[in-house]
Amino acid sequence: MQTLFSRSLESGAFALGLAAISIAVVACWIVERRRRLKAEELHAASKERLALISSIASCGFWSWDAATDRVWASKHARNILALDETAVLGGASLIAAIHPDDRPSVLRVINSAGSPADTLEMELRVNGPGSEIRWVTVKTHTYRDTKGAVQRVVGFVVDDGQRKRSAAELLKMQHKLTHFTRVAMLGELSGALAHELQQPLTAILCNANAAQLLSRKENPNIEELREILQEIVSDDKHAGQIIQRLRALLIRGETKFQDLEISEVISDVLALARGTLRERNVQVNTRVDEELPEVHGDRVELQQVLLNLLLNASESMSGNPARDRRIEVVMALTDDESTVRISVLDCGKGIDIDQLERVFDPFFTTKDGGMGLGLAISHSIVAAHGGRLWATNRPDRGAAFHFTLPITTGKESHERHNEYSVHSG
């Protein structure tokens, strides 16, 4: 009985144990399942997030395992590098994606990177679909073991095309706007320019008529006729110069940086504005330092800046009596001898203290019918030249506008090189 009891007790305990185990197993399974679900969810979420970041930043991720030489690359990375979406990739596939011209230098950088956990950033070209060449930025991080051997390289790749394209687009718009304001400014000069053009044309006609009269005489004075022809030639050239100067500013050409004598730019502008300034009874005096070094810049754009400052200065003196309208243009090397400073000084009404900065804001104007773009454009032109444009009031009266331009130093050029740049760090 006891045995039976104890047996039944045993069997009960066994059953209980079995049940406990089963419950534990089921619980474990449930926990594990939930954990796995959670992990899968997390994985899916992070994958989703990665894809989102990828598409927003238009960048792709990849990693390379040294032991297996296997490459994992995200969908975006494969897109950018023009690699098949499903293909199994190795290190060689990545190298092959690089443009042949850039490949040697990239290999050099990879192989020379010595210290552990190198971070590299490179701008390079890759072969896009077809014969397209894409500019990309690649950033990498290299993991090494304790002995320094490379274990894994992870990186991301960004297509610069989009960025470069919008930057180029912006540049083009700026260029258009610059040209537009220049043409508007030339409109201001057109009346006086037409007048100026009529002088040589009048002289040519008079001389030609005179020559006709003289040649009809019995003994025409050949020497006088020769003089007349010479005069016609020089008057015609003069007319040509006027048109040439105007044309240079009217057409929308490419920005062309070159070494320039700033005094030459000034005299071109003064020649162009001479008639207008004369009509406004404005006298201009120019003071130039002897042996002023050349500056590096775009002739037309610098002419635009100077013309803008001259016309503003003459405008500001419109309230002065006719004999009291003087502009002074001063060009001098700055104290540190790295820039040339050009100042346009007037004796007009000056600028309100609180507007000294605002005059460079787009659409800021004090002129009737002014667009308020002239100074804003001039400001950005000077900035693009690596200089600065600012305004002050003169101690006695009138305003002064100054701008600096870096002087030419040897062969150095400000143009962008079409080479990729490598920063390691």
Partner: protein
């Protein structure tokens, strides 16, 4: 072509235009003098020298219009042909009102230029002749005694010696003598001539404002 000793005075600040105009007018037989500014012209030109002005409208300093204005009524006044770079109606109207002969637009046609200059020189000659005549009359008038002037004033009103004597409270013979002296000093052969001479210099009778052709009620002095 102009055979007289008249001169075309050119004032233009543009060297090439000055030279071209001078050459053209000289080739056509005109006497020419050129000045680079209105100030130069005012300083150097001889008011007595017959001739006309060929003047640029738009010049720095004293403009063409300002020079014209400053010459009006002065001894140096002379007919002006304007040259302008732009056909500005307002300016041309202004210039013409102040007595300009013509207003030409650059580049100027030679025939138009010659025609305008000829007209200006002709007008200058006429004006000079008129001035000379008036000066002569004035000189003659200046030789008259106050009494002779009084008598002349009556004579040109057509009054008889008897009437004049009565008015002046003197004898008819005396008036006769004065009248003869007036006629001789004024170099007038008839009363009609004397009236004409007097009218030239603004000395004379004011026309009656009365009605009808027979209005003869002259005002008494």
């Amino acid at each position: 072509m102009n055979g007289t000793t008249s001169t075309v005075f050119i004032v233009d600040d543009a060297r090439e235009v000055r030279l071209g105009l001078s050459r053209l007018l000289a080739a056509a037989g005109y006497r020419v003098r050129a000045f680079e500014s209105a100030a130069c012209f005012l300083q150097e030109h001889d008011a007595e020298a017959p001739g006309c002005l060929l003047l640029d409208v738009c010049m720095p300093g004293l403009s063409g219009l300002e020079l014209q204005h400053s010459l009006v009524g002065s001894p140096g006044a002379r007919p002006i042909v304007f040259l302008t770079g732009r056909g500005d109606v307002q300016t041309s109207v202004h210039a013409m009102k102040e007595g300009a002969v013509d207003f030409l637009t650059k580049p100027v046609d030679d025939q138009e230029l010659f025609a305008a200059v000829d007209q200006a020189l002709k007008r200058d000659a006429e004006q000079r002749l008129e001035r000379a005549i008036r000066d002569t009359i004035q000189r003659r008038l200046a030789m008259l005694t106050p009494r002779e002037r009084q008598v002349m004033a009556h004579v040109i009103r057509g009054r008889l010696n008897k009437q004049i004597a009565a008015d002046l409270g003197t004898g008819e013979k005396t008036v006769k003598v004065h009248r003869a002296r007036v006629m001789s000093k004024m170099v007038a052969r008839s009363v009609a001539e004397l009236v004409q001479l007097a009218a030239r210099v603004g000395v004379g009778v004011e026309p009656a404002l009365g009605s009808g052709p027979a209005a003869m009620n002259w005002k008494h002095p």
